[in-house]
């Protein structure tokens, strides 16, 4: 079992486009402080930022749990919101339910979840319609890709 070294929880509010990205920024700073490889920091930053944007666009609120273990960096996002009806479909590149307004924000082109998956060594997505979505992403510390 990997040993948990550092764990932090952050709250992200739905609709708060202005603050989106602050959690990712803090996580990047923490990882830099403990001397993690910059490539891994970048991957963790992209994962968290895309996840944050998803919360801001679709959910009411979410808790982001960042965990650093002796084996990996993991980002877990529990959101409270409408959920995703067809998870497989949502994972397809280009598929999106975004509104024009979201697209004007520069997001909602159906690339967020695929981006998260691409930057993760382990990726899980579970959703319950009407309740919310749980996203899990882990990046291995020994994996330089």
């Amino acid at each position: 079992m990997p040993e948990v070294l550092l764990q932090r929880a952050f709250e992200v509010r739905g609709g708060d486009f202005d603050k989106a990205g602050e959690t990712s920024s803090e996580i990047k700073a923490l990882l830099k402080e403990v001397g993690i490889d910059p490539t891994l920091i970048r991957r963790a930053g992209v994962v968290t930022f895309e996840a944050e944007m998803n919360v801001v666009m679709y959910a009411e609120s979410a808790t982001v749990v960042f965990t650093l273990s002796d084996e990996d960096i993991s980002i877990e996002v529990f959101d409270r919101g409408p959920g995703i009806a067809d998870v497989d479909l949502a994972m397809q590149e280009g598929y999106s339910t975004a509104t024009d307004e979201m697209r004007q924000m520069g997001f909602g082109f159906g690339m967020g979840l695929p981006n998260i998956k691409k930057n993760s060594d382990i990726f899980k997505l579970e959703s319950e319609v009407g309740k919310g979505t749980r996203l899990y992403s882990a990046i291995r510390l020994d994996g330089a890709s």
Partner: protein, 433 residues
């Protein structure tokens, strides 16, 4: 053994915190009313020396007495020396002055500058690793990488710098000419800063320098000026023009952008000033500057002309050097011939790699780093956050790190300990002012 370039005179130090606040790497603490160094954090930049109002900080240099044990002494002056003197004092006077203070010969390393440039060009063009490559000419920059950017250590160019190549050639040539053993010959660098002295006495790569020691420009200045004045009063100026003015490269080195110039076809960047260097290194670490192939960085704002052992004003120095260089060509036939004959025969690679220098809390395993980070964060929340420095650490954040590492206690903070406050008050009463 961890060695750095400064001493604090404990009698003169009043614990005023100036040096602690000036230190860019947070390497100074004031404990029991006296400043002291955390040696592994010191990068020899000299900010503390400049900041001390009581003259309590001195740089480790060499002295004339240190030269006495050698049979043949060769001065290797930095080009900066030639820009230090008032109008009318020529390079020939200065060379003569160096001879009059006890040197047997003066060596200009113009040829070695070309040799090193050529070697660097070859190195950059054949490099397969990550860019940018970083020049090792400023010892402060080398130490900064060792201490704060260990990931970039392979980007330091593993080549000898010109003054070291000169030291090696001096030993070889004079040993042969005079029938002496190399250890009977002293190659002494005339240095604009104490960082270079340390790089000679304790090189970053841990092997021995080809130079034996260094004298600060400020130390040789007065004797040279006296000799120059004597030469100018009555005695005709020396007939022989010293080699340093054969071409513009040696004296122009500090005026131009050093090595970057010979790498004109490559993307190079010249950064000066420690604060700027730190920002640029942060960007390099993030991979933002991969298109820069060569980075020359000098800790002093004005390059070596602003070294802390210089005497003259930086701008006056630059202007004097420019006027000395005049319209001379960058290269002359004699120098070119020597460069061409030596280049294929000499090995310019560094004899040992420069290794990272571990700092407590920033090295070791991830578990330990996280533990220190968390403890320091927890402690920081309880500190006042005014960064007053009265505890002896430069900021509350640094203090929190010290406490979590067991090197200070919360009782050192005046907000938590009346004893600490009264101790400071007593010290204030004792200081006559």
């Amino acid at each position: 053994m961890m060695t750095h370039g400064f001493r604090i005179d404990q009698d003169k130090c009043r614990g005023c915190l100036s040096c602690m606040r000036a230190c860019p790497t947070h390497a100074i603490r004031v404990r029991d009313g006296k400043a002291r160094y955390i040696p592994e954090k010191c990068i020899d930049c000299g900010s503390c020396l400049k900041s001390c109002p009581y003259g309590a900080i001195t740089a480790t240099t060499w002295s004339f007495q240190d030269m006495d044990k050698f049979k043949f002494k060769v001065a290797v002056p930095s080009p900066v020396l030639f820009g230090q003197f008032p109008a009318g004092v020529t390079p020939a006077h200065i060379v003569q002055g160096l001879l009059s203070v006890g040197f047997d010969a003066v060596w200009d390393y113009g040829v070695e500058l070309f040799l090193a440039s050529r070697a660097v060009l070859h190195y950059v063009e054949n490099w397969k690793g990550p860019f940018p490559l970083i020049s090792v000419s400023c010892p402060v920059v080398v130490r900064l990488v060792q201490v704060s950017y260990p990931r970039m250590i392979d980007q330091l160019i593993r080549l000898q710098i010109p003054r070291e190549i000169a030291g090696r050639e001096i030993k070889r040539r004079y040993a042969k000419e005079l029938g002496l053993r190399p250890d009977e010959i002293a190659a002494v660098y005339i240095t604009p800063c104490q960082a270079k002295t340390i790089s000679i006495l304790h090189p970053a790569e841990g092997v021995e320098s080809h130079l034996n020691g260094a004298l600060g420009i400020s130390e040789v200045y007065n004797p040279i000026l006296a000799s120059a004045n004597q030469q100018r009063n009555g005695l005709p100026p020396p007939a022989e023009i010293p080699n340093i003015v054969r071409n513009s490269t040696f004296l122009g080195w500090s005026v131009r952008e050093g090595l970057g110039r010979s790498l004109a076809r490559h993307n190079s960047l010249h950064v000066t000033g420690l604060a700027n260097i730190i920002q640029v290194f942060d960007d390099i670490e993030k991979g933002k500057l991969q298109n820069v192939e060569f980075l020359e960085a000098h800790s002093c704002w004005s390059g070596c002309t602003g070294g802390n052992l210089t005497v003259a004003n930086v701008y006056v120095t630059l202007s004097k050097l420019r006027s000395l260089v005049g319209d001379l060509p960058e290269m002359d036939a004699e120098t070119l011939a020597e460069v061409n004959s030596r280049y294929p025969l000499e090995d310019f690679s560094l004899e040992a790699p420069v290794l990272p220098r571990p700092i407590k809390g920033q090295s070791g395993d991830l578990r330990e780093k996280v533990r220190l980070l968390q403890e320091a964060e927890a402690v920081l929340k309880t500190l006042p956050g005014y960064n007053c420095g009265l505890c002896g650490a430069p900021t509350c954040k640094e203090m929190a790190k010290d406490i979590s590492a067991g090197e200070a206690s919360k009782a050192d903070c005046v907000f938590f300990s009346k004893d600490r406050l009264s101790e400071l008050y007593k010290r204030f009463l004792l200081n006559d002012r």
